[in-house]
Symmetry: C2
Subunit: 105 residues, 2 copies
Amino acid sequence: MSKFENVTVIKQANVYFDGKVTSRAVIFGDGTKKTLGIMLPGEYEFGTDAKEIMEILAGDLRVLLPGSSEWIEIQGQGEFTVPANAKFKLEIRTVTDYCCSYIAE
Amino acid sequence: MSKFENVTVIKQANVYFDGKVTSRAVIFGDGTKKTLGIMLPGEYEFGTDAKEIMEILAGDLRVLLPGSSEWIEIQGQGEFTVPANAKFKLEIRTVTDYCCSYIAE
């Protein structure tokens, strides 16, 4: 079972879209941050501050990356990267478990 | 902001009730475990293995503890304890953020 060791977890959840998207922050020893989250079925638009690497741990969804007109399908596991200061759209079809890494540039 | 330091986080979420209840496990240096979770509005029955201390970080809900006929109301923050090997019911009215501690006896 994959796990993060020697980390700090922020107790309070981040809640978006009436709780249909929620996450919790994990801070690593080097100061970097990831969030572990859940998305329930629905359509969402998100904006980034930092560059983000979204790892889908489980789910059925599609993503429209900024500047793209083609949706990317992910069923099961997958990964996509979103540049800093950008918007992207998600269509979530089944409960989706994810890990988002924030990348300083 | 309250946080747990020097802990291990299990990456994969626990998903119950079609994702309306989800949580992630946090393991402490002494081997004890908590889960940090989210419950969306609905009615749920849960069963315990170990004794559980449920800390409500935010929410609006009521709980029916085993052997009790009176619902306990929690609005905002609160806490209740459920014995080992017991069942309890929850009625969740708003998105509820919780921290559950598992107590070995």
